[in-house]
């Protein structure tokens, strides 16, 4: 027998759990500590926002909310590596990436607060909305990449899917298409170890999720998803490659879901506290903060001032959300078609009539 094909999956990490550099080939962007500080500030802003959103849900002011606690490095790296013209196809908890792309916190709250206008966000108008049907966004991103290829535009499509979502047919179909057509498509698997109550080990027999890309003919990389520097380096590399016509890539960001799946979930039912506790030791903010402090680029004082600033910004956003009036009842007809068909106009009139009668 001879070997028909073989592969290896590399793992990328710059900062260990304590924030010590484990490699000496620090990429250009990371040598500029001011830039790292900005990224750190975004990450910690996301965390303040996230805590507030959970609190809003607990007090009945928000619907079910999917927390991003623990995913901040992966998300902010994705958002900051992308060009504004690139297309982002998120799942439902990538607020860090979306804030960088201009989505407002109040819009996230509107979405989980039961108002469609959250999906009409201030981020790039070509970005896809939040995507609840798992992994379907992967194919939409591949489709966007196909459009870029046909029109010869130097743009890249990036999707995020979970460890659970990487079991879904749509995920495989998307990377397969990207491989078949050499598409400018980066598929990021944010492996947070859990798909609601189902552990990573129950999703697949594959040793890494990154290697799924091998079968599709894509380049693959596993990254410490709690390490902002590694994640950003990987994303920069993948996006640059894709933009220059070298095809797609699968990046597995290894991280941990420190929160419940959503506020409707109680993770204590299915996962041991000890596991969560040990995951906190590897969380993304602490290590980057330690690194920046060691570089004399950040201090407790900075931390305190910035936290207070974040609280203020988030309060403004929360108030804007809370003050948003419910859409008028006829809004449900507004965007079903480009123009409301006559058949629907009658139903709309009925709804309005009913609403009038209720008011009197």
């Amino acid at each position: 027998m001879s070997i028909a094909a073989s592969f290896e999956i590399e793992y990328l990490q710059y900062l260990d759990a304590d924030g010590k550099l484990v490699r000496n080939d620090l990429p250009e962007f990371a040598r500029d500590t001011r830039q790292l500080v900005e990224l750190y500030k975004t990450m910690s802003f996301v965390r303040v926002f996230d805590g507030k959103a959970v609190a809003l849900q607990r007090t009945g002011k928000l619907g079910t909310y999917a927390s991003c606690l623990g995913h901040e490095a992966a998300h902010v790296a994705i958002g900051s590596a992308m060009h504004i013209d690139d297309v982002f196809a998120p799942m439902y908890r990538e607020y860090g990436a979306q804030f960088v792309r201009g989505v407002k916190p109040r819009e996230v709250l509107m979405y989980w607060g039961g108002d469609e206008r959250g999906n009409d966000f201030s981020g790039p108008a070509h970005d896809f909305p939040w995507c609840v049907p798992i992994a379907t966004q992967c194919l939409h991103a591949a489709g966007a990449a196909m459009a870029f290829k046909i029109r010869k535009e130097p743009r890249v499509a990036v999707s995020v899917v979970g460890d659970g979502g990487s079991s879904k047919a749509d995920f495989y179909s998307a990377i397969n298409m990207a491989g078949a057509q050499t598409l400018p498509y980066v598929s990021v698997i944010v492996n947070n170890q859990w798909a609601i109550s189902v552990p990573r080990s129950a999703q697949t027999g594959a040793k890494t999720l990154a290697q799924k890309g091998i079968a599709a003919g894509l380049e693959c990389l596993q990254v410490d998803g709690n390490d902002l520097i590694a994640m950003r380096t990987a994303m920069d590399y993948a996006i640059k490659r894709a933009r220059h016509g070298h095809g797609g890539m699968v990046i597995e960001a290894v991280t941990y879901r420190l929160s419940d799946h959503t506020t409707a979930d109680d993770a204590r039912r299915y996962r041991p506290d000890a596991e969560v506790k040990s995951a906190w030791e590897r969380e993304p903010l602490k290590r980057l903060r330690n690194y920046l402090v060691a570089q004399n680029a950040w201090s407790d004082k900075h931390e305190e001032t910035w936290k207070a600033e974040c609280e203020k910004i988030v309060d403004v956003e929360v108030n804007a959300y809370l003050e948003t009036k419910v859409q008028p009842v006829e809004a449900m007809f507004d965007y079903v078609y480009a123009e409301l068909p006559a058949d629907l106009q009658e139903q709309r009139a009925q709804v309005l009539e009913l609403e009038q009668a209720r008011k009197h």
Partner: protein, 326 residues
């Protein structure tokens, strides 16, 4: 006898049948240790182990396709779609295979599976978690489509669905999962899968509905009674195959019919009921048939969803229109 909610009755039925019949297995996302996101399979994993209560990878194609394969080879899978909005990847396997094995192979292979689908709106859920998509399946030959509306009917109908030799899509109105408790004996008694249930006798107008709207229909009947109008309430329960006789008998008596459903209006299952009335009950009717339904829009996110769902008020108004017409 135990006092149970609708969802507890479902758990009871599954546990009963799994204990009795080793070929019955449960599969889906989070159905094992977690007991299902709605807790419908709670305790089953402890009782029957992880192979008979299988946490699948996160892929609906897997769940439906595996269920079809198992069912064709002598198992009785109860597959769970976590929410109504996530059945669409399953449709290929259900429509092209589950519904057709019997007919394609002239009876050689069959597909006795149950697909449980938590169904409908009104629980302040996120996007794609509130769909009333029963019509996606009622147009498919070879399927049975069932939707209980009380704990006891949930128990009896699910038992019947598991025992049925053909594929059954079993919709569960999640809005009334825990609405009230009822005494349900765990006696293994199934209910028939081809009858409508008359829940309340009346003589002036027939209210025909299913699933969560049974609640509103009964409340509307109460409200109408205060105005001296006697409404009969029918829970269709099994949409396909339809027991039209029960509906027809009622309309012969009342001459009026209001069909209530949560799904969008156009080509909703109410259209089938109305068409049958047009075909068979034209001369029994003294007023045009009314439909109170969801609109032909997507169900809005939760800030507006209650304005979309049929309300007691809309049902009462429709019933009164049928009385005003004659």
């Amino acid at each position: 006898m135990a006092q149970v909610t609708l969802i507890e009755a479902l758990t009871m039925a599954m546990a009963h049948e799994m204990a009795k019949d080793p070929s019955v297995v449960v599969l889906g996302e989070d159905v094992g240790v977690n007991g299902g996101v709605f807790r419908a399979t709670v305790g089953l994993s402890d009782k029957f182990g992880p192979l008979r209560v299988l946490d699948t990878p996160l892929d609906e194609t897997t769940i439906a396709g595996i269920a079809v394969g198992m069912a064709a080879q002598g198992m009785k899978p109860i597959a769970e779609a976590q929410f109504d909005g996530f059945v669409y990847p399953m449709v290929d396997h259900i429509v092209c295979h589950a519904a057709r094995f019997r007919t394609r192979t002239r009876g050689r292979l069959t597909c006795p599976l149950v697909l449980r689908v938590p169904w409908g709106g009104g629980i302040r859920a996120p996007e794609h978690h509130s769909e009333a998509n029963e019509s996606t399946f009622t147009n498919v030959p070879g399927l049975r489509v069932v939707m209980p509306s009380s704990p006891s009917r949930a128990y009896g109908l699910l038992l019947a669905a598991i025992r049925d030799p053909d594929p059954v899509i079993f919709f569960e109105p999640k809005r009334i999962y825990r609405q009230y408790k009822e005494e349900v004996a765990d006696d293994g008694e199934a209910l028939p899968l081809d009858v409508c249930f008359v829940l309340r006798d009346g003589s002036d107008v027939t209210l025909v509905t299913w699933g969560a709207q049974v609640k509103e229909a009964l409340e509307a009947a109460d409200a109408l009674a205060k105005d001296g109008i006697s409404a009969e309430v029918i829970d269709v329960a099994t949409l396909k195959p339809l027991d039209f006789d029960t509906i027809h008998e009622s309309v012969k008596k009342t001459g009026r019919c209001v069909i209530v459903h949560e799904a969008p209006r156009t080509a909703g299952f109410g259209a089938e009921v109305a068409a049958r009335l047009a075909e068979h009950a034209m001369y029994d009717l003294v007023a045009p048939v009314e439909r109170v339904t969801g609109y032909d829009t997507h169900i809005p996110l939760f800030r507006l969803e209650m304005k979309y769902l049929p309300s007691v008020e809309r049902i009462v108004a429709a019933a009164k229109r049928t009385l005003a017409a004659s």
